[in-house]
Structures are given as C-alpha cells and as structure tokens.
C-alpha cells in the first residue's frame, strides 16, 4: 500500500503538484488520469524517488520514505518496478539481456538462475521467440511487453507504469492494460498507472485519481466515474464525440 499526504513539487517556482493526498492499494490497478501536463509523470517520479518532493509524506506499507536511511531506501527501490512511457529499453541489449539486467546488477544469483527467471517473465508477458532481438526490431506493443517483463523480473511490491499504452493501437493497448492488471492481481502488487485514455479507465480503473493543474480534482473508480456530476471529471470524460454519443444513447 502507498499513501500520499499533501505531496508538493515545484520546478523553477512553478508549482506542478499542489498538495496531493491519495491511497493506492495492493492487488489493484490504481490509475492517475488527467490531461497532458497535469503532473502525472512528476507524481510518479516522486514516488520512484527520481524527484524529491518539496513537501508532504509518502508512506510505503506505512513507512515514511523521508524517514528511511539510505539502506532502507535502497531496499525499497529494489521493491519497485517501473514501465516508462517510451519503454526505455536499453537499445544496445537484446530482449533477454534487458530483462536479465536488473537481476545481474542487483542480485548475486548465478547467470543460469537469472536467465531462468528472465525467461519465465518473458513467457509471462507472452513474448516468446524474440529473446535475441534488439528493441529496435520490435513493435511498440512488444517493446512494452519487454518493459513490463523487465519491471517485474525482480518481483516488485510496487509497480509503476507511465502511460503504458500510449502510442499503441486500441486493441494492443487493451491487451497491455489487462496484462498489467493480471500481473498485479496474481502477485498482489500495488500498481500505479498514469493514463489519459478512457479505454484504460474502463478496463482497469480499480481506483482513479484525477489530476487537474496539479490538484486532486476527483477520486473514485470506473464504476463511479459515470455517475458523478463533478464538472472537471465530466469535461475530461466527455471530451470526445464518441463518449458524448455514448452518453446520449445511454440516457
């Protein structure tokens, strides 16, 4: 479980996160949604420790990140997996090497054990027979799968995904969304996913945090999102003609 209390972050005097509080539960896909530039990536990078929040508390299983010493923070880091927006695969390494990499760097296991673990997760993300290809030889959807495999190979307690389905066709996007959800449930991971895509909301929005201009404008779930009359979230949800049409027909 991750708990955020009043997280603030500014860049060059511009406040990007203006006090975000939220709880993300294990075994669930927790979505952060909002327009481009609303601060989703910054919030995720605060959680990952890539940005230092200016204020507020982040609790990981009830332990405040700020109060941990270096060793504890390092241990926590190893319990985190991250799927970056552009996959961020190491382009000089093959698929298998990419997935083996975190274990090679961070564990003392033998090469055979590492290879076996990597092959297992590659199989889990349904990516067989690409082990020796380079990332540049893969489609966007396959790259995402490799990124997911690399993120879960260390069996993380926390999984973060920054727009895991951006740049993918709708069908592939849904397959990726559901893959993340299945892995989350199988391993009881606390998963936090950034998205601006209503399809993802409908598929995997167990809990939803809606950010607008760095403020928590709404929170709920995919069941609640169509029942609320909160102006900000309605503007977001019904921004496309498709969703407007669906709403008309529904009423």
């Amino acid at each position: 479980m991750i708990e955020l209390r009043d997280i603030r972050k500014s860049f060059d005097g511009v406040e990007v996160l203006k006090g975000i509080s939220m709880t993300f539960e294990p075994g669930k896909t927790n979505l952060i949604i909002g327009q481009s530039g609303s601060g989703k990536t910054v919030l995720l990078k605060c959680l990952l420790g890539l940005h230092q929040p200016d204020g507020g508390t982040m609790l990981f299983n009830n332990r405040a990140f700020g109060e941990m010493d270096d060793d504890e923070q390092r241990t926590l880091r190893r319990e985190m997996g991250m799927v970056f927006q552009g996959s961020a695969l190491f382009d000089s390494m093959t698929v298998l090497e990419n997935v083996m990499f975190p274990m090679q760097m961070l564990t003392k296991q033998s090469e055979t054990a590492i290879r076996k673990a990597a092959e297992e997760v590659i199989e889990r993300v349904n990516l067989v027979e690409s082990n020796h290809k380079l990332p540049a030889e893969l489609s966007g959807g396959m790259q995402k799968r490799v990124a997911i495999a690399r993120a879960i190979v260390m069996k993380p307690k926390y999984l973060f995904c920054d727009e895991p389905n951006s740049g993918l066709d709708p069908k592939t996007a849904i397959v990726i969304d559901n893959l993340v959800r299945e892995i989350t449930q199988e391993n009881n991971i606390t998963t936090v996913i950034n998205s601006h895509d209503m399809n993802s909301v409908m598929e995997i929005g167990d809990t939803i945090l809606f950010l607008k201009n760095g403020v928590k404008a709404w929170k709920g779930s995919k069941e609640l999102i169509f029942k609320t009359d909160n102006k900000a979230i309605c503007d977001f949800v019904y921004s496309s003609n498709l969703m407007k049409k669906v709403k008309e027909m529904y009423q």
Binding site: M82, F84, A88, F90
Partner: protein
C-alpha cells in the same frame, strides 16, 4: 553565472563517477565496448589525417626554404617537431572532440531523452558511474592512438618529401634524428592524457544533463564540441607554458 553553475555541476558529476561503482563484471563489458567505439573506431580517421597532414607540413617547410644556407635536413626536423609537439596531440584531439565527443554526447543524450538513464536510476544504479567511468578508462588508451598519429605523420612527411623530391631520404632521416629530446614526447603524452580526460568527461556532461528531445541531442553534441575544443586549446596553452617554457 550560468557558466559557474555548469562548472559546479560538472565537478559534482566527476565526483559521482567514482562513488558507488558498478559491478566489476558488468563494468568490464562496458569498458571493452567503449574501447571498441572510442579508441579502435578512431584509428582509421586518425591514421588517414595524420599521414596526409604530415605530408603537407613537410611540403610547406620545403617550399619555404629557398636559401641554400639552410640545411636540407631541416624538412625532416620541422616535420618531426610539429607533428610530435602539436599536430598529433593537440590537433588530433580537436578532431576527436568532433568524432568521439559527439558520439559520447549523442549516445548519453539519447539515453537521457528516452528515459534509459531514469531506468538505471530506478534500479538503484549510479548512472554516472555506469556511463562515464568506462569512457574515462578507455580514453586512457588515447596516447596509443596519438603515438600512431605521430608515426604516420612523420611517415607521411617522409613520403611527401621523397615523392616531391624536396630532399634526399638520408637528409630527411638525419633531420628527424637531429637534436631529439625525449622529453618532448613525454610532454606530448602528458597533454594527450589530459585532453583524453576532457574528451571523455565534457561531452558526457552535455549528454547527461541535456533536456528535451531528439532535436536537442544534436544541439547538445554541437555545444559539447565547442566547449571540448575550447577547453583543450586553453589547457594546451597552460600545459605548454608549464612544461616547456
């Protein structure tokens, strides 16, 4: 003010290179790769340029001595001196600031914009050590490259002299042996090592701290080239003053 900020950030980066090292086995692979890319990959261009510029230096010298009072062995002597003292160590490092430097900036910069550096950091890896340390280590081999440059430069001078008929083979060889000071070679290697460190670190800095997208990678490589050459030229002045004057 901005410059001071960059200088400060550069030295902070240098400190990060040497703490929290990457696993030896992984680092070894990275070093081999960088030796391949940075050192072996530069041999061709360095050899080619050295041979021809060495040739031109000897032709220019020969054409400028009209007076019969000046001994013919001066062509060999002048070629040796200019190649060993400046052409091979300084001029070649400026060329490499373009080749090796832009390679370093763009490869690290691409990793920055595609979040590969963030991916390393998330795994708890010291990305500065992972990326910059192998480049520093492989650039220690740069004096070898410069050594080859010296040899080929003088050989080029020799070839041009004979081909153009400016002096005899015996005169040229007498020239390159005349008043030889071993310290000049030491001086050349000392400054090459210094330039090698500049070549490894300044382009790394510009790649590592770049912001933006693919377009900015190109810009960062250009800026890195300018700064690397400026620093090399300024260092060259001070080292020469210190060691030879």
């Amino acid at each position: 003010m901005k410059l001071l900020h960059h200088i400060g950030a550069y030295f902070i980066m240098l400190r990060l290179v040497f703490i929290k090292p990457t696993k030896a086995k992984v680092m070894q692979k990275l070093i081999f790769q960088d030796v391949q890319d940075l050192i072996i990959g530069s041999l061709g261009i360095v050899g080619f340029l050295s041979f021809f510029v060495g040739g031109v230096v000897s032709i220019q010298t020969a054409l400028n001595i009209e007076s019969p009072l000046i001994p013919k062995n001066l062509v060999g002597f002048a070629t040796r001196q200019s190649v060993i003292l400046e052409f091979a160590p300084t001029f070649m490092c400026i060329i490499l600031a373009g080749k090796v430097g832009s390679f370093i900036t763009s490869s690290i910069g691409t990793m920055r914009v595609t979040e590969q550096i963030d991916a390393l950091e998330v795994m708890g890896i010291n990305s500065v050590n992972y990326l910059v340390f192998p480049k520093i280590v492989s650039m220690i081999l740069l004096p070898l490259v410069i050594n080859i440059s010296m040899f080929l430069g003088i050989l080029g001078g020799y070839a041009a002299t004979l081909y153009g008929g400016f002096s005899s083979s015996a005169d040229f060889i007498e020239g390159i042996q005349m008043d030889f000071e071993p310290f000049h070679v030491a001086y050349a290697f000392i400054k090459t090592l210094l330039f090698a460190m500049v070549l490894a670190t300044i382009p790394s800095y510009h790649g590592y701290f770049m912001k933006g997208g693919a377009l900015e990678v190109g810009k960062a490589a250009t800026v890195a080239f300018v700064w690397t050459s400026v620093v090399i030229i300024v260092l060259n002045y001070f080292v020469t003053q210190l060691l030879l004057a």
